[in-house]
C-alpha cells in the first residue's frame, strides 16, 4: 500500500506535471517572441522546480527507513460528517441566489447544526433563523449592503 508520506508528493507530482503541460502551451503574443521573459517563463520555472521538489521528496521517503506509521485517528463517522458539511456548503452556494439570503441561510444553519449532531429543537431554531434575520437586517438596513432576495420570486 502507498505510504501516507508518499501520497502528498505523488499527488503534487501529478498536479505539477499537468501544470507543466499547460504552461508549455501558453500562447505568446507576437511582441513576446524576442523577449527574455514571457508570460510562460515563470510558470515553466515553477513547474520544473515543483517537479524536482516532488521527486526529491518521493526519493527521500523511499530511502528513509521510516518506523511503522501511526494510524491516523480518522473515524468513518467524522469523515462522513465533514463530507456532509462540504456538500452542504455547495448546496448553500447553489441556493443563495435562487432562494435568497434569508431562506438559504436559515436552511444552511439548521442543516449544519443537525449534521454536527445538534438535536435540540430550541438550538436548531433559535441559533439559525434569528441569526439570519439579524445579519440580513444589519447588512441591508444598517450598512446598506445588497443581499440577494431570491431570483425565484423577485
Amino acid at each position: 500500500m502507498l505510504n501516507r508520506e508518499l501520497i502528498g508528493p505523488s499527488l503534487f507530482l501529478v498536479l505539477f506535471t499537468l501544470y507543466a503541460l499547460v504552461a508549455w502551451q501558453i500562447p505568446l503574443m507576437p511582441f513576446e517572441e524576442y523577449e527574455s521573459v514571457t508570460s510562460a517563463t515563470l510558470p515553466k520555472v515553477y513547474a520544473v522546480f515543483g517537479i524536482v521538489v516532488c521527486v526529491l521528496s518521493i526519493g527521500a521517503n523511499l530511502l528513509k527507513q521510516a518506523p511503522a506509521e501511526k494510524a491516523d485517528l480518522l473515524s468513518k463517522g467524522n469523515l462522513l460528517r465533514t463530507f456532509a458539511l462540504l456538500v452542504l456548503m455547495v448546496a448553500y452556494s447553489a441556493m443563495l441566489e435562487p432562494f435568497g439570503f434569508l431562506i438559504a441561510t436559515s436552511a444552511f444553519l439548521i442543516t449544519g447544526f443537525f449534521i454536527m449532531g445538534e438535536r435540540r429543537k430550541a438550538v436548531l431554531l433559535f441559533a439559525s433563523v434569528p441569526v439570519a434575520v439579524v445579519f440580513w437586517f444589519l447588512m441591508t438596513q444598517v450598512l446598506g449592503i445588497y443581499l440577494v432576495p431570491g431570483n425565484l420570486w423577485s
Binding site: 502528498g8 500562447p27 513576446e32 510558470p43 465533514t82
Partner: protein, 512 residues
C-alpha cells in the same frame, strides 16, 4: 519620526479607529481562545469587514485582532491546556500546571502583563527599526526585491516544522502557481483560465485565505476531533480563575525574564519565516537554561518564569513581524501575509514607499499597537472569566457559524457564487493536504508574493538585458541571494546529521 508619531496618534485617536482597536482586540481574544482557531483565521474572517472601512482603520482593526488572538490563545492554554494558537503552546507548559495548583488567575495575570510588556517593548523597537529600515530599503531595486522575496519564501519553508521542508516547498510552489492564474498583467495573455471568464481576473486572495485557513480549520476540527481538549470550561475539573494579584517578589523575579524574552522575541519576529511560535519556544528554552538549578527544576511544573518568557516573546515577535511587512512589503509569516494581501486589495503598495506615500497607514498601525496592548490589559484582563465562557459554546453551533461567516464574507466582496464553489473546492484540497500534514502558510505566502515576484523579475531581466547577471551585479543583491541559498541548504544540514546518527546507531547495534 516625531511627526510620524503625531500623525499616527491623530489617526488612532479618531473615535472610529479607537473603536476598531477595541473591537479588534475583543474579537481577536474571542477567536484566539477557541482551540484550533488562530490569528490567521481571525484576521481572514475580518477581511470582508475591513474592505468597507478603509486602509487605516482596516489595518488598525487587523493588528488589534492579531494581538487579541495571541492573548486569547494563552487563555485557553492556561485554563484548559488547549492552545488556540501555535504561538502559545509554550505558555501551556507552565501555565496549565499553575492553573491546576489553583493559581489560574495569577497565571492569566502573568500572561497579560508579560504580553503587555512584550508588546510595548516590541512597539518601541518597531518605531525605531521600521523607519530606519524603510530608509535603507529606498535604495532597493527590482533585483533586490526578487531575491528578498525568494529569501522570504525559502525562509518560511526552512523554518517550518522538522521534516516538513520539502512539503513546505511544494506548498510554496503550489501558491506561486495559483498566482499565475488569470490574465498576465504585462502581456495580456490568458493563463490557466481554461475558457472560464470568472478566472480572467485571477483567484481572489480572500477566497484562498478563507478556504485554506477559516474553512479548513473548522473542517479539520470535525474530521479529527481527537485534537480537541478533553476538558471544557464548564467541566467541574477545570481550574477556577481565582485571584489575579501578583506579589512584589514575583514581579521582581520575572522582570528581567520579560525584558530578555521581549528583546529575543522581537528579533526572531523580524526574521522572515520565524514568528511567534519559534520565538516563544526559544525564549522558554533560553530562560530554562539561564535559571538557577532550583528554579530550573520548576520549569514544566508551574514556573512563573516559564510562563512569562514565552508570553512576552510571542507578543514581541508579533510586533517584530510587522517590520519586514511595513518596510520591505515582504511578509514574514502567514498572518502578515494575509495583511499584505489586504493592503494590496486596498490599492496600497507595501514596501519602502509606504512610509512616504501612505504615512497615515504606516504610523497608525505602529501607534495602534500601544493602544491595543493597553486595551488588552485594561479591558480584557478583568473580562477573562466572562470571555472564558466562550470555551463552553457548543462545537456544533460554532463550526457551522464559522463556515457561514467565511462563505458569506467572500460572497459579500464578489457577489459571485462561482467564488463560493471554488472556495469549497479549495477547502476540500486544503483539508486533504492538512490531513497529510502539509503546512498552509507557505501556500498563502507563495500566492501573495507570486505576482510581485513575476513583475520584479521581468523588470530585473529587462534592465540586465535578459541576463541573470542581476543576481551578482550588485553586492546587496548578491548578499541576499547567498543568504537565501544558505537558508535553502539549512535543512539539508539537519538531514545529513540525522542520517549520520541513524548510521552510527545501526553500526552500534551491529557491533552489539
Amino acid at each position: 519620526m516625531l511627526d510620524g508619531i503625531m500623525l499616527g496618534l491623530s489617526t488612532v485617536l479618531d473615535w472610529n479607529n479607537l473603536l476598531y482597536v477595541i473591537v479588534g482586540c475583543f474579537v481577536g481574544t474571542f477567536i484566539g481562545m477557541l482551540p484550533g482557531l488562530g490569528p490567521i483565521t481571525a484576521i481572514a474572517l475580518m477581511i470582508p469587514i475591513t474592505y468597507s472601512i478603509g486602509a487605516d482603520s482596516g489595518m488598525i482593526l487587523m493588528a488589534g485582532v492579531y494581538y487579541g488572538a495571541i492573548f486569547g490563545g494563552s487563555t485557553s492554554s492556561i485554563l484548559i491546556n488547549a492552545p488556540g494558537v501555535a504561538g502559545t503552546v509554550a505558555s501551556s507548559f507552565d501555565g496549565y500546571p499553575l492553573a491546576k495548583q489553583g493559581k489560574a488567575g495569577k497565571a492569566l495575570a502573568i500572561a497579560a502583563y508579560s504580553s503587555f510588556i512584550g508588546g510595548t517593548i516590541g512597539a518601541i523597537l518597531l518605531m525605531v527599526a521600521a523607519p530606519l529600515l524603510a530608509k535603507v530599503s529606498l535604495s532597493f531595486q527590482s533585483p533586490d526585491y526578487v531575491v528578498l522575496m525568494f529569501l522570504g519564501l525559502t525562509a518560511i519553508a526552512a523554518f517550518s516544522n522538522k521534516g516538513q521542508f520539502l512539503k513546505a516547498m511544494m506548498m510554496t510552489v503550489f501558491g506561486l502557481m495559483l498566482a499565475t492564474v488569470g490574465i498576465d498583467p504585462s502581456s495580456g495573455t490568458e493563463r490557466f483560465t481554461f475558457g472560464q471568464a470568472d478566472l480572467l481576473d485571477g483567484i481572489s486572495f480572500l477566497l484562498v485565505a478563507m478556504a485554506t485557513f477559516a474553512l479548513a480549520e473548522a473542517l479539520i476540527n470535525v474530521a479529527r476531533p481527537e485534537a480537541e481538549p478533553d476538558k471544557k470550561i464548564d467541566d467541574p475539573d477545570t481550574p477556577k480563575i481565582g485571584s489575579t494579584k501578583l506579589t512584589k517578589e514575583e514581579v521582581k523575579d520575572m522582570a528581567p525574564v520579560v525584558g530578555r524574552s521581549s528583546l529575543l522575541g522581537f528579533i526572531v519576529g523580524v526574521l522572515p519565516g520565524a514568528g511567534a511560535t519559534i520565538a516563544s519556544f526559544m525564549a522558554y528554552a533560553t530562560e530554562r537554561n539561564l535559571a538557577p538549578k532550583a528554579l530550573k527544576d520548576k520549569f514544566g511544573k508551574g514556573s512563573m518564569r516559564g510562563l512569562a518568557a514565552p508570553e512576552s516573546a510571542n507578543n514581541a515577535a508579533c510586533t517584530g513581524s510587522f517590520v519586514p511587512l511595513l518596510t520591505l512589503g515582504i511578509p514574514g509569516s502567514g498572518t502578515t501575509a494575509i495583511m499584505l494581501g489586504a493592503l494590496i486589495a486596498y490599492g496600497i503598495q507595501p514596501g519602502p514607499m509606504l512610509m512616504q506615500e501612505n504615512p497615515s497607514v504606516f504610523w497608525a498601525v505602529i501607534v495602534s499597537m500601544y493602544f491595543g496592548n493597553i486595551v488588552l490589559l485594561i479591558l480584557n484582563l478583568p473580562l477573562i472569566p466572562y470571555f472564558a465562557k466562550v470555551l463552553a459554546m457548543p462545537k456544533s453551533v460554532l463550526t457551522v457559524m464559522i463556515l457561514f461567516f467565511s462563505l458569506i464574507g467572500v460572497y459579500l466582496v464578489s457577489f459571485n457564487t462561482f467564488d463560493l464553489f471554488m472556495m469549497v473546492g479549495f477547502a476540500l484540497v486544503a483539508l486533504v493536504l492538512r490531513l497529510l500534514a502539509f503546512p498552509m502558510a507557505p501556500l498563502l505566502l507563495g500566492f501573495i508574493l507570486g505576482d510581485m515576484i513575476e513583475r520584479n523579475f521581468r523588470r530585473a531581466m529587462m534592465i540586465s538585458d535578459g541576463s541573470l547577471s542581476f543576481l551578482w551585479d550588485r553586492p546587496l543583491t548578491l548578499s541576499i541571494f547567498v543568504i537565501s541559498i544558505l537558508v535553502l541548504l539549512f535543512p539539508l544540514k539537519d538531514y545529513i546529521v540525522q542520517r549520520r546518527k541513524e548510521k552510527a546507531a545501526t553500526q552500534a547495534e551491529q557491533h552489539a
